[in-house]
């Protein structure tokens, strides 16, 4: 018996038992190890993924919960918000040990993609992840950079946008 869902744009069937947390099904069965294990209790956000676009703790979501839905992991994000966020994270040199950062990037991407016009503080207030390296100052900078670059792209003349 298998459960099907759309994973990073592709229809895939999982063989793990339906009550398996999506986190471990992704990491062990699909070998998608960019989604991290941090607490197993939905507290730290290291396992943040998107389910139907919404930031979701993969350790608190069973395979059965995700069946038939669209799941995106750090390996599969794409689009304007995703590239703006990822680029901003690199420009602001956010990662230190880096272990929690895919979770932060998934959270920020999902929040910004849902409503690109939000203020930096609005975005930040919806990110409840934990970083033990304490990269929060840089994360604040990166979220600001990502919003700025999206705003600049949106207000660029149509021709310039077409060239991109």
């Amino acid at each position: 018996m298998s459960l099907e869902l759309t994973l990073n744009g592709q229809r895939v069937a999982f063989l793990s038992p339906p009550d398996t947390p999506l986190l471990w099904a992704l990491r062990d069965e699909m070998k998608l190890v960019g989604t991290k294990f941090g607490c197993g209790a939905g507290l730290c956000g290291a396992c943040t993924i998107m389910v139907d676009g919404e930031q979701t703790r993969a350790c608190q979501t069973s395979l059965a919960d995700a069946a038939g839905k669209t799941v995106t992991t750090i390996e599969g994000i794409s689009g304007n918000a995703a590239s703006a966020v990822t680029d901003a994270w690199v420009r602001a040199a956010v990662p230190q040990c880096g272990y929690c950062q895919p979770g932060f990037i998934m959270a920020a991407t999902s929040i910004i993609a849902a409503k690109p016009g939000q203020s930096r503080d609005d975005v930040l207030s919806q990110i409840t992840n934990i970083c033990r390296c304490g990269t929060y100052d840089a994360i604040r900078v990166a979220v600001g950079l990502a919003l700025d670059s999206l705003k600049a792209a949106a207000s660029a003349p149509p021709k310039a946008r077409a060239e991109r």
């Binding site: 272990y99 929690c100 033990r132 390296c133």
Partner: protein, 765 residues
């Protein structure tokens, strides 16, 4: 001391051969042995693959012109890979994008003596022939023993000069190779963007020259003092940021080998408890077996989830006959008793004793401080993957010491240590936790039951908190006598704390008994205070009730800086002088040493910030306060200023300003990043951190009961770098010690309430 030894390596080695028989003779191992071994290590060259040329121990060049620098320290977020690339690029005269950093082989050539030398019980400012001789001898012996370790904010101090030296020497060889090839004098050539260029415009790339340059005898190069360069003093884009932001960076827990199994581990619920027996029902889906360890049980399965749910169903009996039954309050009571017994209970170590005999005239200020046990809670929970065969062992694990991993894995797999291969991915946080490599031994023990199959053992967060080696709880009584002007005429600092070093040594070398030397680690931050307090006594009471303790970001400094810098603030209040002015007076009394001058510069920066950014009054029912602290650790100095807001019992740290003097900031953006990181780490401890033990059990299980700072609670942190030009100091931990006292002092400023225990908590509104 380290920079001197590294800078003068060539000379020192020659001198050493002559002097070894005199000074080093027979201290621990024969001086002759040390000398021969060091000479052999000196000749070590990195093995080069086809198409590569080795330029000694640190650097390789490929024919495509790309360079590879090896780093003996693990990358755990501190940016040491980036720093190695930066220094190699500067020395070679090429862009950093042409290079990459890789883990150094586990080899004695890459020993880190710095971290151990820092722990020797010497005043960092005292200079004597005796001290120099002991440090010099120890350094040689430590290099010969060859322990590779990452910690103690030592990475840059350990590798910066050898990498600079190797890169500059390689550039010199490339230029001479080009001179031969182009038939011109080397003196007329210069380097530019990975090429050697001649005045007539002819040039050759480093890649073209690499083979020939590798044949040229290296010459001594004169290292200019570290100062601003193309990349030095500016920084480079960290090469690991991209892979880390894209989810491509691999950590130990991401190891995925063909046929790999997963183990879920559970430890005895009480510290010191043992496993009596454990069984598991046959036929559980995916489950491959159960492993009974000394103090743990592990279930091995095809996936971690199968292992974890299998473990849930296991029938486990624990043996508590040797388990700890104590609670945190018993530990504090034992500290209290040791301090109360006073001279009747001999302290382990007394530094000075003038305070005990000083005349008692004058006003007394007396205070008792305490801090709890703390966990590391690295974001990547502890884990290791091992593949054991009859003759070999391979380990994939984030760790802070390849040497120790290899030693402990060899022992657990019962193979010789040269049959152990260690693969070191990125660390999902270290903070000292991964210097204690017992988790590798357990992973190997478990994998031994599945010969030929890689087994990854993962500690859940609950197990990670339960099986940690904690930052010790500690307590101190501090007493000062003040003269009429409010300045201290004596100070007695008595601290009760178990010895981290003793426990660490006992875990690594069960045959070795600790206590050979006083444990400087747990009195760091108190024994060599910045201030000239006359008639001082420092007494270190070692009280160990068996709770496992270990190294933790800044260790003793995180304890004693809180006690000491809070107390200095209490003295300032008693004297009726502002915290800044009082510290300035104390620094002045020190008599104008280099250390006091460095500290005064930072104090001046705090004073300027204070004047430029007056504390805004709080809203109705909100009290605001500003506090400072001044600390010295790992040969660097930091001044902290913290602004707090208090409403009811809620304490919020709004803004932190830190002035940092690490001698010279080679990679300034990273100094800023590390300082912020260390401050937030210290803030988690100051505001929330407590690891409680109740009847031998660890109370906190996860981040709900062991909260850490988040985006919501983390302050804005401004960092001001002061390049004093002093020898390079550590960076990774130096922001931690001063933040708790700065916040405590700010709380006092806001409320008039002096909080002497961590984590901070206000009772009543």
């Amino acid at each position: 001391m380290t920079s001197t030894s590294a800078r003068g390596m060539k000379i020192a080695r020659r001198t050493f051969l002559v002097a070894a028989g005199v000074v080093g003779g027979g201290v621990l191992i024969g001086a002759g042995t040390v000398a021969v071994r060091l000479q052999a290590l000196d000749g070590y060259r990195l093995p080069a693959a086809d198409g590569e040329t080795s330029f000694g121990a640190w650097l390789k060049l490929a024919r495509d012109g790309r360079f590879e620098v090896v780093v003996p320290n693990e990358e755990m977020g501190q940016g040491i890979y980036s720093l190695a690339i930066l220094l190699a690029a500067e020395g070679l005269g090429v862009g950093p994008e042409a290079g990459r950093a890789v883990p150094a082989p586990i080899h004695a050539r890459f020993a880190n003596p710095v971290v151990i030398l820092d722990g020797l019980p010497f005043d960092p400012r005292a200079d004597s022939a005796g001290k120099r001789a002991v440090i010099w001898t120890f350094e040689k012996i430590l290099r010969a023993v060859g322990l590779q370790v990452t910690g103690g904010s030592s990475s840059t101090r350990n590798i910066a000069e050898p990498i600079r030296s190797c890169a500059m020497s390689a550039r010199d060889m490339l230029v001479r190779a080009a001179a031969q090839r182009l038939g011109v004098s080397a003196a007329t050539l210069w380097t530019e963007g990975g090429r050697v260029v001649a005045p007539d415009g002819k040039s050759a790339t480093y890649g073209e020259l690499a083979d020939a340059a590798g044949q040229i005898e290296p010459r001594d190069v004169v290292l200019p003092p570290l100062g601003p360069g193309v990349y030095v003093g500016k920084g480079i884009q960290r090469p690991d940021c991209g892979p880390k932001a894209r989810g491509l960076a691999r950590y130990g827990i991401d190891t995925r080998e063909p046929g790999q199994l997963y183990a879920a581990i559970r430890h005895a619920p009480r510290i010191g408890g043992a496993l009596a027996h454990a069984t598991i029902k046959a036929g559980l889906p995916g489950v491959r077996g159960i492993v009974e360890g000394s103090d743990y049980v592990a279930v091995v399965a095809g996936t971690f989830e199968a292992a974890r749910s299998g473990l849930e169903t296991a029938d486990i009996a624990w043996d508590d006959s040797k388990a700890l039954r104590l609670s945190s309050r018993d530990v504090l009571s034992a500290y209290r008793a040791a301090l109360d017994k006073g001279t009747g209970y001999a302290p382990r170590w007394i530094i000075d004793s003038a305070g005990n005999t000083a005349g008692a005239a004058g006003r007394k200020v007396v205070a008792t401080y305490q801090v709890p046990f703390l966990a590391h809670a690295t974001m990547e929970p502890v884990n290791a993957t091992a593949l054991v065969t009859n003759a070999t062992c391979k380990v994939w694990a984030g760790h802070q010491s390849g040497s120790l991993v290899r030693m402990i894995a060899a022992s657990a797999a019962n193979v010789p240590s040269d049959a152990v291969e260690v693969v070191t991915p990125y660390l999902g946080g270290g903070f000292g936790r991964r210097a204690d490599v017992g988790y590798v031994a357990k992973a190997v023990e478990i994998a031994r039951h599945f010969k030929g199959v890689p087994v990854q053992t993962i500690w859940t967060r609950e197990e990670d908190l339960r099986d940690d080696v904690y930052r010790p709880a500690a307590m101190a009584d501090v007493t000062a006598t003040l003269d009429a002007a409010g300045l201290p005429t004596s100070l007695i600092y008595r601290v009760a704390v178990p010895s981290v070093t003793d426990q660490f040594i006992a875990r690594v070398f069960p045959f070795a008994k600790g206590g050979l030397l006083a444990d400087r680690t747990t009195v760091d931050g108190a024994i060599y205070p910045l201030y000239a307090v006359p008639n001082r006594s420092i007494e270190n009471f070692t009280v160990d009730l068996g709770v496992p303790i270990g190294f933790w970001r800044s260790v003793g400094y995180s304890i004693n800086a809180f006690f000491f810098e809070s107390f200095i603030d209490e003295l300032a209040a008693a004297a009726g002088v502002t915290p800044i002015a009082y510290r300035s007076q104390l620094l002045h009394a020190f008599g104008g040493s280099a250390a006091s001058r460095r500290a005064q510069v930072l104090l001046d920066r705090l004073a300027r910030f204070d004047a430029d950014h007056p504390l805004a009054p709080g809203d109705t029912n909100v009290k605001v306060g500003r506090g400072i602290a001044l600390t010295e650790c790992f040969h660097s100095f930091v001044g902290h200023l913290a602004d707090v807001e208090i409403s009811g019992r809620d304490i919020r740290v709004r803004r932190v300003f830190a002035a940092v003097d690490c001698g010279f900031a080679i990679d300034p953006p990273n100094v800023v990043a590390q300082t912020r990181s260390a401050i937030n780490f210290g803030l988690s401890a100051a505001l929330f951190g407590r690891l409680d033990i109740e009847d031998g059990r660890v109370v906190q299980k996860n981040f709900d009961t062991y909260p850490v700072i988040t985006l919501d609670t983390a302050p804005d942190i401004l960092v001001d770098i002061v390049n004093s030009g002093a020898d390079i100091g550590g960076v990774g931990e130096i922001g931690t010690p001063g933040i708790a006292p700065a916040v405590g002092n700010a709380i006092y400023a806001a409320t008039g309430t002096r909080l002497r225990a961590l984590p901070f908590g206000l009772s009543g509104a």
